[in-house]
Amino acid sequence: MTGDDELRLPAVIGSLPRLMDRVAERARTLGMPPERILDVQLAVEEALVNVIRYAYPGGGGEVEVRCGEGREGGLSVEIWDSGVPFDPTAAADPDVTLGLEERPVGGLGIYLMKKVAESVDYRREDGRNVLRLVIR
């Protein structure tokens, strides 16, 4: 990744707008079209909300985003947290063919993220979760 741009904030919902703005701003400077920037925001929000809700069962942790231009082109976003180890790429896809009555109200986030991003990769590094999204 080149030209890293980092922002680290408390892992709370109130941090979402600033983190999302930073990522959207970076996508704009790369010249991405507005529709694609919405996809960027969607993928990144799903990843962030996941960390905010589940990474720190006792509360009090931080989440960090690092944006850059991907080696393969497009925008690369890494989401770092020091919470419980969790690999979102291993989560099973929800059944999106169910009717309203059978449909659970949650479980869509990771699925949407995987659908709109070109690639989603997870790794553990220095005791932290790192999720890397590439959106072109």
Partner: protein, 111 residues
């Protein structure tokens, strides 16, 4: 995120504007829940000014629709932009949420 209510052909229409995401979904649940007229048999969600929708937003839409249906009412979405439609499609919800191009179309469907 903002919700404006009006009556059209005797049906409550909620115009949702702005962003429906992890940051605003809690507000939506509260404001929408308070705005639905008691015992409403039909509700239209006018989405033409909805700019962004994430899974947290979809979640609160599902909760709202299920609640109205649970009370014996019907819901129709109207005027969603291409992007919003695309997100609903990926989530497999265009088959679950009736979606019309215009509020008029939604009102016709609910008649």
């Amino acid at each position: 995120m903002k919700i404006t209510w009006r009556m059209e052909r005797g049906v409550p229409v909620a115009r949702v504007s702005g962003r429906l995401d992890g940051d605003t979904s809690h507000d939506f649940e509260k404001i929408f829940g308070e705005g639905v007229p008691e015992g409403a048999k039909a509700v239209v969600l006018d989405l033409r000014d909805l700019e962004y929708l994430s899974s947290a937003g979809i979640r609160c839409l599902l909760v709202a629709v299920k609640r109205i249906k649970g009370d014996g009412g019907a819901v129709c979405f109207a005027g969603a932009r291409d992007y919003i439609r695309e997100v609903l499609e990926i989530a497999g919800l265009t088959s679950v949420f009736p979606l019309e191009d215009s509020v008029d179309g939604a009102l016709d469907r609910l008649r």
